[in-house]
């Protein structure tokens, strides 16, 4: 099979995969598109949203569509790193026994790992997870376990602040995207979710999803895809300007109300962040049946790839939720291409 044909068939699978997830969780089209992009760009995702809006259903649907194993763990304040690796119990014969924990249980078939309320877990747990995310391997029982296909989805509870540990900048930076999952706004979807019995039984709903691209194909497909989608010199200039603008927005004409722009930024996007941005943009271009990047591709993923990487000066941090979207919108609106 030629390379183009392979990419084209895989794109059809990806679009069908997206369509099936959209049938499973209603009214989350934009979030689903971002998750599909993250899956095919092999990036970890930070989810944000209220309770009960369908985050777990969404992730189970993704896991079902990709095949492979799905594991989930709830973040609690007493969760220790070892709890991710193993658990101990007394066996029937009365002797202590050790079994692999959620991360090790399925080994290299673990495809989707959902860490619920990650900010309730201690920094030690974050550190372990970050290694698993960055290196796709983990050290336990005196040896390294490879987790080549793992993709981590973490949910951040933003309602309660008590007994939570804010993710450090380095941890956030390892996530490709932060996706906001909001409740559907149209009445038709809300009515369906309330009254259609199909949405009441999550297991049956998930079982409807037919597998498309297999999880073990994703790494090589992502590699090929990243090689094939081209970025022209003009586009590279555009991305570079965006990057610079994320550090010094005031030099690019970005102006926010009641903000001294020279004081606003503490840190802009990291090189890893920009690399993630381009990887995600390439997947967006591929889904749009192009073999070259357009500014629209970058714009489509800019907010989700950047919002958790930009750090504001502490005096503006309390207005973060208002300022960050305005800042990103301002950067996109002020930087011209070409």
């Amino acid at each position: 099979m030629s390379l183009d044909r392979h990419l084209s068939d895989s794109r059809d699978h990806a679009l069908a995969f997206e369509q099936q997830i959209n049938l499973t969780v209603l009214g989350l089209g934009a979030a689903v598109r971002h998750i599909v992009i993250a899956v095919y760009a092999r990036g970890h995702v930070l989810l944000e949203g209220a309770v009960g809006v369908g985050k777990t259903t969404l992730l189970r649907a993704v896991a079902q569509g990709l095949g492979g194993d799905f594991q989930r763990i709830e973040g609690t304040i007493d969760l220790m790193p070892a709890d991710l690796l193993y658990y101990t119990y007394l066996a029937n014969d009365g002797r202590p026994a050790v079994e692999p924990g959620p991360l090790l249980k399925y080994g290299d078939t673990l495809a989707t790992f959902f860490f619920n309320e990650i900010n309730r877990a201690r920094p030690q747990v974050h550190a372990l997870l970050l290694r698993a995310m960055a290196e796709r391997s983990i050290h336990a029982f005196n040896r390294d376990y490879a987790l080549p296909h793992i993709q981590v989805f973490a949910d951040r509870n933003r309602v309660e602040k008590e007994e939570t540990f804010e993710l450090p900048a380095a941890a956030k930076d390892r996530f490709m995207m932060e996706i906001n999952i909001t409740m559907p706004s149209d009445n038709a979807s809300l009515e369906q979710l309330m009254f259609n019995p199909r949405f009441h039984d999550t297991d049956a709903l998930i079982a409807e999803i037919a597998p498309g691209t297999r999880y073990y194909e994703l790494n090589s497909l992502a590699h090929t895809l990243q090689q094939q989608i081209q970025a022209s010199p003009k586009l590279r200039d555009y991305a570079l300007t965006l990057w610079k603008a994320s550090h010094q927005p005031q030099h690019y004409g970005v102006q926010l109300s009641d903000v001294d722009m020279a004081q606003l930024m503490l840190a802009g996007a990291s090189p890893r962040g920009m690399s993630y941005l381009i990887r995600a943009a390439k997947v967006s271009a591929w889904l749009a049946q192009r073999d070259y990047l357009l500014p629209e591709d970058i714009q489509a993923v800019f907010a989700v790839c950047m919002s958790h990487r930009l750090f504001l000066n502490p005096m503006y941090a309390y207005r973060k939720d208002q300022l960050l979207p305005e800042l990103m919108n301002g950067i996109l609106q002020q930087v011209a291409a070409p």
């Binding site: 081209q230 970025a231 586009l235 500014p295 714009q299 002020q334 930087v335 011209a336 291409a337 070409p338």
Partner: protein, 292 residues
């Protein structure tokens, strides 16, 4: 015998009145005295002709000097119908007599036509007396100069004319400014000259300079939009500049073409593309001028 004679006289009388070419003729003149140098004298001639007879207008005296001291200022012929004529003449005298003097308006002949035949009617001369303006010898009196200049003529009121002139000048200036605005000649009116400049740039480009042309048009749109304009923001752009929505298809072509030109590998420019870009610039320019 007496009866026959009376009948004869009657028939003779009737035939005579029937044969007269002019049934009625009268010259109305004003008083024949008390005129001084420069006075105008009006004369009216009223006459009625037989049917079929018409006045030969060429026989009337022409306007202008008739002799050394007499000028015919105006002559008007009016007709109530084919037979009734009224001729108004207005003479002016230029004669300074030393004492009261009788002068005569000359007589002239009115020519009348009846088919091939020519008839004439004499307008008689009219005599009147003309008086001197002053005594022969200028005398000095205690009351001052006997001869004194004319009182200066009253000045015409020029104020309405001045106001009219000012209003015209202001209107003309306003129209000139409006036209300059329309044609984008005003230097501070940058937003009305955007596509004009772009058109100038695009008009001179060759296939190798496509980037210059695209850049010029992008610059126009970005400036007009107040910030960089991307294809997915066109709807917002139309809300602020609704006139440009008429070119929606052409803008889509432009953005897609620009995307392919700048971002896709292996793009080749053909001369038709430049022509299309020029046409788009011209259309946008006509919208900018308000002529579309």
């Amino acid at each position: 015998m007496r009866i026959l004679f009376v009948l004869f006289l009657f028939v003779l009388g009737c035939s005579s009145s029937v044969d007269e070419p002019i049934r009625y003729f009268k010259v109305e003149t004003p008083r024949p005295f008390g005129y001084v140098n420069g006075d105008e004298i009006s004369q009216r001639i009223i006459f009625e002709t037989r049917p079929g007879i018409s006045l030969e207008r060429a026989s009337l005296p022409g306007k202008g000097p008739l002799n050394r001291w007499l000028n015919l200022n105006d002559i008007r012929v009016s007709q109530a119908d084919d037979q009734h004529y009224q001729i108004d003449l207005r003479y002016q005298i230029f004669y300074a007599p030393l004492e009261v003097k009788a002068l005569t308006l000359p007589s002239f002949e009115l020519q009348l036509n009846q088919g091939e035949q020519h008839l004439s009617q004499t307008v008689p001369a009219w005599t009147f007396t003309l008086s001197p303006l002053r005594e022969l010898v200028v005398r000095q009196t205690e009351q001052g100069e006997y001869m004194r200049p004319d009182s200066p003529p009253p000045l015409l009121n020029t104020r309405p004319a001045l106001y009219g002139l000012l209003a015209s000048v202001v209107t003309a200036l306003a129209l000139a400014v409006a036209l300059a605005w329309q044609y984008g000649y005003l230097a501070f009116n940058g937003r009305r000259r955007l596509f004009k400049k772009a058109l100038r740039t695009v008009s001179g480009i060759s296939k190798n300079e496509m980037a210059t042309g695209l850049q010029a048009l992008h610059h126009c749109l970005n400036t007009l939009n107040g910030q960089p304009l991307f294809v997915h923001q066109l709807a917002d752009f139309y809300q602020r500049h609704p006139h440009y929505q008429a070119l929606h298809a052409q803008w889509l072509w432009f953005f897609n073409y620009s995307n392919r030109f700048y971002f896709s590998p292996g793009m080749t420019v053909v001369s038709g593309d430049i022509q299309q870009l020029k046409t788009l610039c011209q259309l946008a320019r006509s919208i900018e001028r308000g002529s579309r």
